[in-house]
């Protein structure tokens, strides 16, 4: 991915990490974030995993 995509991904992934209400994303939510950044395809699938990072 480009650095610009990496920065956008980091913002979506970690922007709320300090919130006391934060909870791990589901696999579906994580895949949605990847799609928002333009990361699509089999490589970015998390099917079958309970949560991501």
């Amino acid at each position: 991915m480009s650095l610009a995509q990496g920065w956008k991904l980091a913002q979506l992934w970690y922007g709320d990490r300090l919130s006391p209400q934060w909870s791990p994303m589901s696999a579906e939510q994580a895949e949605s974030v990847f799609r928002d950044v333009g990361l699509v395809g089999e490589f970015w699938k998390l099917a079958g995993q309970a949560s991501a990072r």
């Binding site: 991915m1 480009s2 650095l3 610009a4 995509q5 990496g6 920065w7 991904l9 980091a10 913002q11 992934w13 970690y14 922007g15 990490r17 300090l18 006391p20 934060w22 791990p24 994580a30 990847f34 089999e42 490589f43 970015w44 699938k45 998390l46 099917a47 079958g48 995993q49 949560s51 991501a52 990072r53």
Partner: protein, 164 residues
Amino acid sequence: MVRSLSKGLTMNIGRKLRESDLDARVRQFVYRHIIRREKSPTVAEMAKGLSRSTKLIRGSLSRLSESHAFMMQENGELWRAAPFSCIPTAFPVKVGKHSWFGNCIWDALGIPAMLGEDARIEGSCGCCNYQMPVEVKGGRLVAGKGLIHIAVPAREWYKDVVFT
């Protein structure tokens, strides 16, 4: 029998709520400590700071590790509290006079994203160590060249996280 089942269920729910509350407190304690002191707290420091036994703290860290956001070293101390690495890596991140390490470029970018601050990441190429600094300013990427290469498909990231 109905009374003991109900009591068991209530105790189980109570325990889950206490665990959930402790886990939230441990998360916040760890992040505040890392941000303030630029290093992760030890289990003993967490126990003292939160007035809990090391056994309870280790239980909490184990639960927090289920999502891989926290990860532990073999010695029982923190290895990662995403996006922070708790050990030195090839991705140092400077924010003003403070510095931390990210586990990879994604995590390194996650530090200014999390803190909402300007940052400089002294990244380097994974194969040849060629210097590839990246800079974030005013919420925007203002300097940096190259690509981010992720070698492992997403569903396999945690099979060997060090390799990933």
